[in-house]
Symmetry: C2
Subunit: 155 residues, 2 copies
């Protein structure tokens, strides 16, 4: 392993932030996600794109997770050796999806008081069979400012 695990997650969050910036460039809400393994292999990254995909459920986490599943050889329904770094607290849909996929841990950046479903709202993992480890607030300021800037420019 070429770096310490704590460095790994921060590096991956920086990648997720880069995805989030890509989203803003194309007019989508700037949320990015990366699915990776402990050795630093990136299986997939994605940003939010409900507009481009004409699908209100096209959240960064779901797209990255589906991309990661497509990389599995042999194919399995789970991402049980995987981590996800996402710039915003997952909503109830994404949090439950990551539980069904049995990801090891969820690292998220900014907290989402309005639509989050992990620490906020329905807190779905409290009821889930598989409870991934959750670490919130990684690179929080950077993740939150990206969102704030995006919405400030829109108004």
């Amino acid at each position: 392993m070429p770096w310490a695990m704590s460095d790994l997650h921060t590096r991956m969050m920086q990648l997720a932030l880069s995805e989030a910036r890509n989203a803003a460039t194309v007019g989508e809400v700037p949320i990015g996600a990366v699915v990776y393994t402990a050795d630093g292999t990136v299986l997939a990254k994605a940003h939010n794109q409900p507009q481009a995909m004409a699908d209100a459920t096209a959240h960064a986490e779901l797209l990255a997770a589906r991309g990661a599943l497509a990389m599995r050889m042999p194919a399995t329904p789970y991402l049980d050796d995987c981590y996800i770094a996402v710039t915003l607290e997952p909503c109830a849909m994404c949090a439950q999806a990551l539980s069904w996929l049995r990801v090891k841990a969820i690292y998220f950046g900014a907290y989402d008081v309005k639509s989050g479903g992990v620490e906020n709202g329905a807190q779905v993992l409290k009821h889930a069979h598989h409870k991934p480890e959750v670490i919130g607030g990684l690179c929080e300021v950077e993740c939150a400012e990206l969102m704030k800037d995006f919405f400030a420019k829109r108004r």
Copy 2:
């Protein structure tokens, strides 16, 4: 409209049951879903297939919803004039997805004490911005027995 609305939802649940039976035939848990409009147009139907798709999130509702979105012309991110009939109470992931998609109403068959997220578990719609109408227990006995039979044969 060629039939009363209450008949419509029951007919659609029967279609969903047919999808659920198809799932059992190929060894998947028998859960089926149909997305339709008030005039009786079926936009999409699907069954659970996490094994075949190697994706633990490949629930009937998500697959039917994505199929329905693909039918929209012009493309929109929402299913706001649509209904869904599903043989089992949706989990937290699917319930939140249907909320993001702004479906008008969710008709479900059997209640799911273990993994449901609407009436059971995290009850995610209580926290959702868009709250589709929910009618549980439509054709409940038929939906529940299909599940019971499937798991009885497996053990």
